[in-house]
């Protein structure tokens, strides 16, 4: 499994824990419009990723993150900077 696939799998798992049961989640699902996450849940998700990978997400970039794929891109960028 590549790093990118690892990030995506982990994220899908975390998003599934937050989403209502039966919600379809894939890497292109919009976290708000399709999955139904609230802003508080998205921040929870971000905090879990920050702790897991020892990184900090800049708030400046969060508005651009709509999908799991977007978040994977950001993870790659932030982990790569370490």
């Amino acid at each position: 499994m590549t790093k990118r696939e690892d990030y995506a799998a982990r994220l899908k798992e975390l998003v599934n824990q937050l989403a209502e049961e039966g919600t379809h989640v894939d890497v292109d699902s919009d976290l708000v419009d399709d999955v139904g996450l609230s802003s508080i849940e998205i921040m929870e998700l971000v905090e879990q990723l920050e702790d897991a990978y020892d990184i900090s997400f800049p708030l400046n970039d969060l508005a651009e993150i709509r999908t799991i794929n977007d978040m994977v891109n950001e993870l790659e960028r932030l982990v790569g900077k370490q």
Partner: protein, 395 residues
């Protein structure tokens, strides 16, 4: 549809179809009693912590200034907007804080937006407590700085995030509040100062809700925690303990007056009217001369917090003049708010969007001016709300 029509059609207000946002509050001759939508109430949602809005010295000073200097300055502080009361208040606040310089702003919101965007730029890093006020987030956005939030009141998480910054940590500005406005909890300021100091970062404390409330002299949480010399900038407001409107930034360490042109909310906004500045000066004098007001306020806070806790309400973690009652359903919160008004008590109704957790809030703010009978009335209304109103446990 053009842009404006689309925007207006798409926007949805909290409790859109209710009367909440049209609430008409009339204050009747004192800081803690009035009418809301025609119903006589005890006012317990006004942030009027020391009850100074009707203090005779403040009212007199305000009226005299209006008569002498007119209703407004019609100019920015950098142009024609500096009158004797602006200069006088700056001097007196500097003396109160033992500060090098004070900057006055027309509102508390502008104070945060103005000073944060003047202190930080695109090359800076800001670290905000997650539960920071909207004005802090907006100041951060305007500055263009790379902005991170750390877990609320968690000095360990702040430490972790400063460590991740590496060499840039010493260029960071950390921002916290004295008392948080929704649940009334205080920042662990001594721990935060220790962490900030270890990395050589700078610290701004917004004392909007703690100025006049905490500390032996009322200078806020930094005074109460004994860390005033470790704080770089304090921001505060006149619209709570001082009972009028306006904001300020003050520093013991730095000459903030050098930022007057850089702080666009200062440079490009008309200054406060002379009557407001005069009443703020009179109120500051009252705060300095009457420490018993703080005792009365904290006593009212203690009695109310303990009583609501005993009634089984979910509250913030500590006794505070802000008592946030958590309600996990927005319709129930709206019904409860109406019930309280019908039973003679006005509190703030806070929607999910503005609250720090998955709940709405019935936010009670106490005042030194609340009489024991008014405190009893507040507690009694909440008792009935729990026993026979929308928040009875079976509901």
């Amino acid at each position: 549809m053009n842009l404006i029509e689309r925007r207006v059609a798409a926007e949805k207000l909290p409790w859109q179809d209710s009367d909440v946002l049209g609430t008409l509050v009339t204050v009747d001759g004192g800081p803690t009693s009035g009418t809301v939508n025609g119903q006589a109430v005890v006012l317990a949602g006004t942030n009027n912590y020391l009850g100074l809005t009707f203090h005779p010295d403040c009212v007199r000073a305000s009226a005299e200034a209006a008569a002498r200097y007119g209703t407004g300055t019609t100019g920015s502080r950098l142009a024609s907007g500096t009158y004797p009361d602006h200069a006088g208040l700056e001097r007196e606040l500097a003396d109160f804080y033992g500060a090098r310089a004070v900057m006055l702003f027309t509102t508390g919101y502008q104070a945060n937006v103005g000073i944060i965007s003047a202190l930080a730029d695109r090359d800076s890093v800001l670290l905000l407590d997650a539960q920071s006020h909207a004005s802090i987030y907006d100041g951060a956005t305007l500055s263009g700085a790379t902005t991170y939030r750390f877990k609320h009141n968690d000095a360990t998480d702040l430490d972790k995030r400063l460590r991740r910054l590496g060499d840039k940590a010493s260029d960071a500005l950390v921002i916290v509040e004295g008392i948080y406005s929704m649940l009334g909890d205080t920042a662990p300021l001594a721990e935060i100062c220790e962490v900030v100091g270890r990395y050589g970062a700078a610290l701004l404390v917004d004392e909007a809700h703690s100025f006049g409330v905490l500390g032996k002299h009322g200078r806020g949480l930094a005074e109460a925690a004994g860390v005033e010399d470790q704080v770089d900038v304090v921001v505060g407001t006149f619209s709570k303990s001082l009972g009028c409107v306006g904001g300020y930034a003050v520093s013991r360490k730095h000459d903030l007056s050098q930022l007057r042109a850089a702080a666009r909310a200062y440079a490009y906004s008309a200054s406060s009217s002379p009557s407001v500045m005069a009443s703020a000066r009179a109120a500051l004098k009252v705060i300095r001369e009457h420490p018993e007001l703080r005792e009365r306020l904290m006593n009212n806070a203690e009695v109310t917090y303990r009583a609501l806790q005993q009634l089984g309400y979910e509250l913030g973690p500590e006794v505070s003049p802000v008592v946030g009652v958590q309600v996990r359903n927005d319709q129930l919160a709206l019904d409860a708010w109406h019930f309280l008004i019908d039973h003679g008590v006005y509190v703030n109704l806070v929607p999910f969007e503005a609250s720090p957790g998955p709940f709405c809030l019935l936010r009670v703010s106490l005042s030194a001016a609340h009489t024991p009978e008014q405190i009893d009335a507040i507690v009694e209304a909440f008792r009935q709300l729990r026993e026979s109103g929308p928040l009875r446990p079976a509901a």
